[in-house]
């Protein structure tokens, strides 16, 4: 029997599902877990640990275990994506107008001063000691884990609840499962149609790992005369110019899925699908701006029939 819990956190709708006969009391703690993570990682909370690290440039700061895990994950994402997925896009996001939570962001801003060039820093400029969890960031370098922290939280939750039963955690569209449902059945997961999010393009089956979607269909706004979105291409420092609207990737972990989806989106459909096919653990569904859909060869293995 599947028990569900819906709540809001990190500016998104969250949903946890667990396949057990009796609902574990631990489920009620989920909103508290996410509240704690938001306090650690939100760039919109002045007292967050992230903002402390960003404000204490040049000073050695010992970070929490969660912060260390996410920073390590960011290092992995940057190296796996060839530098396209990086936590160092905060200044570029501010430059294009993403300076407050999306709920409060003006969808149309007359300010068009975003054309200044942003020089993208590199993670190698940060001194990091994983043993003591000590970090030293140079001045003018600011971290933002907004692109990866929801996936990490979904993964963490699924792992924690797995001792009670098979779990699916949907953190604003980033979905992690702890394993198959009771009876060995896969989890049915919908892939939203970006042109009509209330319907699904496909129903996929997840036995393990996770699935994530990256896109420029939701968090977008007008600045000056141009549409902007939150997927920054570190090569230019501006929102990625891509023919893709959304990319959905299935992977052995939701963290890897999130990284791969963002990488493909920035690369565009042709290079993106070639890049995806090089890794046998990945499968993807691309939706182009013109409505056309592309799937990788392995994606068909996941379609619910």
């Amino acid at each position: 029997m599947i028990h569900k819990l819906d709540f809001k956190a990190m500016g998104c709708e969250m949903m946890a599902a667990i396949d057990v006969d009796f609902l574990p009391a631990e489920m009620e703690l989920l909103p508290n877990w996410f509240e704690g993570w938001e306090k650690t990682f939100s760039r919109f909370r002045e007292d967050s640990e992230l903002n402390q690290v960003n404000n204490w440039a040049g000073i050695a700061t010992q970070v929490s275990q969660d912060f260390a895990e996410v920073f390590e994950l960011a290092l992995y994402a940057e190296s796996s994506s060839g530098g396209l997925v990086t936590p160092l896009v905060l200044d570029a996001l501010l430059n294009v107008g993403y300076n407050q939570t999306f709920e409060h962001l003006k969808l149309r801003s007359e300010n068009s001063e975003m054309e200044k060039i942003v020089i993208m820093p590199s993670l190698t400029e940060i001194r990091w000691d994983p043993i003591t969890r000590t970090i030293i960031t140079p001045p003018d370098l600011h971290l933002d884990f907004g692109g990866i922290v929801k996936g990490w939280a979904a993964q963490k939750t699924a792992e924690r609840l797995s001792e009670y039963g098979p779990t699916l955690m949907d953190a604003g569209g980033d979905i992690a499962v702890s394993g198959t449902r009771a009876g060995g059945q896969p989890w049915p997961v919908g892939v939203a149609n970006p042109f009509n999010p209330s319907e699904n393009l496909e129903i996929i089956q997840l036995w393990e790992g996770g699935v994530a979607t990256s896109g420029r269909d939701r968090r977008r706004w007008v600045m000056g005369d141009h549409w902007q979105h939150h997927i920054i291409d570190p090569r230019s420092g501006f929102p990625a110019k891509t023919d893709l609207l959304t990319v959905t990737v299935i992977a052995p972990s939701v963290n890897k899925a999130e990284m791969a989806a963002k990488t493909c989106l920035i690369l565009g459909s042709q290079i993106g699908i070639d890049w995806l096919e090089t890794d046998e653990s990945l499968a993807g569904l691309f939706v182009l701006e013109n409505g056309q859909c592309l799937t990788s060869e392995r994606f068909n293995n996941y379609i619910w029939r």
């Binding site: 953190a171 569209g173 049915p188 970006p194 129903i203 939701r218 959304t246 619910w304």
Partner: protein, 110 residues
């Protein structure tokens, strides 16, 4: 006593007459039925026409009704066996589609 004996004899006569008439009837019937025998046998051995089954999968194999080959003593037309094939609708396994379940979660850009 004599009356009783006479009645018994009359019964015997009636029995004899009945036997004779039945025997004669059957005998004469056979005599007149004989000319039709060849025709009847020929018709009985004709192949039966069965409806051609249309595109079916897993058509049940019809068991042909045995053609009667014995003597038909009473003449007339031999019964024509009719095989009726009932089409059974069978859906191929790979065309059998289960209804898609309600998704437990939905992935979308965030």
């Amino acid at each position: 006593m004599a009356g009783k004996a006479g009645a018994k004899n009359w019964d015997d006569v009636k029995m004899v007459l009945t036997t004779i008439s039945i025997t004669a009837t059957i005998g004469l019937w056979n005599v007149f039925a004989a000319p039709n025998e060849k025709v009847v046998m020929a018709k009985a051995s004709e192949p039966t026409s069965t409806p051609i089954p249309t595109a079916t999968q897993m058509m049940p194999t019809p068991t042909p009704t045995e053609v009667f080959t014995g003597k038909i003593l009473l003449g007339g037309k031999a019964p024509v066996p009719v095989v009726i094939a009932v089409e059974e609708k069978v859906v191929k396994n790979n065309q059998r589609s289960q209804p898609k379940p309600d998704p437990v979660g939905q992935t979308h850009s965030s």
